[in-house]
C-alpha cells in the first residue's frame, strides 16, 4: 500500500495525543481525589 507509513503515522498521532491527554487527566483526577480525601479528613479532625 503506497504511503502506508504516513497513513499509519497520522492515526498513531491521533491516538497518542488523545490517549496521552486522557491518561494525564486520569492521573490528575486520582491525585485530586486523594488530596480532597486528606483535606476533608483534616477539616473533620480539626473541628
Amino acid at each position: 500500500m503506497k504511503n502506508f507509513e504516513s497513513l499509519f503515522a497520522a492515526y498513531m498521532v491521533f491516538w497518542a495525543v488523545v490517549f496521552g491527554y486522557q491518561f494525564s487527566i486520569e492521573r490528575q483526577l486520582s491525585r485530586a481525589m486523594e488530596e480532597l480525601r486528606k483535606l476533608k479528613a483534616q477539616l473533620g479532625g480539626e473541628r
Binding site: M1, K2, N3, F4, S6, L7, A9, A10, Y11, V13, F14, V17, V18, Y21, Q22, I25, E26, Q28, L29, A32, M33, E35, L36, L39, K40, Q42, L43, E46
Partner: protein
C-alpha cells in the same frame, strides 16, 4: 460543591462505552467501508480523522465561547470550569489537525507546510487557545482570572469562522471545501457517510474528555475551598490564643 451522584457516574460510564463503540465502528468504516480515492489512494484516509478533528475542535471552542458568555452573565463557577475544560480538549483536537495535516501534505503536495490562509489561521487558532491557558495560569486571583479568560475566550472564538471561510475567501494551497463548497464540489456518498459517522464518534469522545476535565477542575476548586477554610480556621485559633495572626503566619 456536590460530589458526582451515582446516576452521574453511571451515565458517565455509559458515555465512555458509547464513545468507545462509536470509535471502533468509525475505525472499521474508515478502513473497510470507505472507498479508496482515485488519485491519492490510501493516504486520503487521513481525511476522516483530519477533517473531523478540525470540526470537533471548532465545537469545543464554541463551548468555550458560550460558557464564557454565561460566566460573564451569571458569574457561575461551573461556566468558568466548563470553558477551561472545553478549551483544553479543543486544543487536543486542534493539535491533531496541525500534526496530521503535514503528514498528509508531504506525500501529496511535496511539502510539509505552507503559510497559506487556511494553515496560518488554524495555527493562529491553536496559538490563541494556548495563550488562553497561559493567561489562566498567570492570573492568581480566581474571580479576576475567570473574568479575563471569559473575555479572552469570546475574543479568541472570532478566529473560528475565519478558519472556516479562509478557503472560500482566499486562494490557498489547502484544498477547496468538499462539503458546502458550492458548484463543482462534492463527496462520494459513502465517503460522506463515513466522514459524518467519524465526526459523531469524535463528538462522543470530546464529550467524555470535557466531562472528565470538568470533574477534575471542580475537584481542584473544592480542594482550594477547603484549604482556605482550614487556613481561616487556623488563623482564628491563633488569634483567639492571643498571638497576633501576622506573627504566627511567619
Amino acid at each position: 460543591m456536590p460530589e458526582e451522584t451515582t446516576s452521574g457516574k453511571a451515565s458517565g460510564r455509559l458515555l465512555v462505552v458509547v464513545a468507545a463503540l462509536l470509535l471502533a465502528a468509525a475505525g472499521y468504516a474508515i478502513f473497510f467501508i470507505a472507498p479508496e480515492e482515485r488519485t491519492m489512494r490510501a493516504i486520503q484516509r487521513i481525511f476522516y480523522v483530519h477533517v473531523t478533528s478540525a470540526w470537533t475542535a471548532a465545537v469545543a471552542y464554541l463551548i468555550v465561547f458560550v460558557a464564557s458568555i454565561r460566566y460573564l452573565v451569571g458569574r457561575r463557577q461551573q461556566s468558568d470550569a466548563l470553558a477551561l475544560s472545553a478549551a483544553e480538549v479543543g486544543l487536543v483536537f486542534n493539535t491533531v489537525v496541525l500534526v496530521t495535516g503535514p503528514i498528509w501534505a508531504k506525500p501529496v503536495w511535496g511539502i510539509w507546510w505552507t503559510w497559506d490562509a487556511r494553515l496560518t489561521s488554524t495555527f493562529v487558532l491553536w496559538v490563541m487557545y494556548v495563550s488562553y491557558l497561559l493567561l489562566r495560569s498567570l492570573v492568581e486571583d480566581p474571580s479576576r482570572r475567570a473574568v479575563l479568560s471569559a473575555v479572552y475566550g469570546i475574543f479568541a472564538f472570532l478566529d473560528v469562522p475565519l478558519v472556516y471561510m479562509s478557503i472560500r475567501w482566499w486562494r490557498t494551497q489547502h484544498p477547496q471545501p468538499v462539503i458546502g463548497g458550492g458548484q463543482g464540489s462534492g463527496l462520494d456518498p459513502t465517503m460522506r457517510a463515513v466522514l459524518f459517522f467519524t465526526w459523531l464518534a469524535l463528538l462522543a469522545l470530546m464529550t467524555v474528555l470535557i466531562r472528565q476535565r470538568f470533574r477534575l477542575e471542580m475537584l481542584r476548586r473544592e480542594c482550594a475551598e477547603i484549604r482556605l477554610r482550614l487556613d481561616a480556621r487556623r488563623e482564628e485559633r491563633k488569634t483567639s490564643d492571643g498571638v497576633p495572626a501576622g506573627e504566627m503566619v511567619r
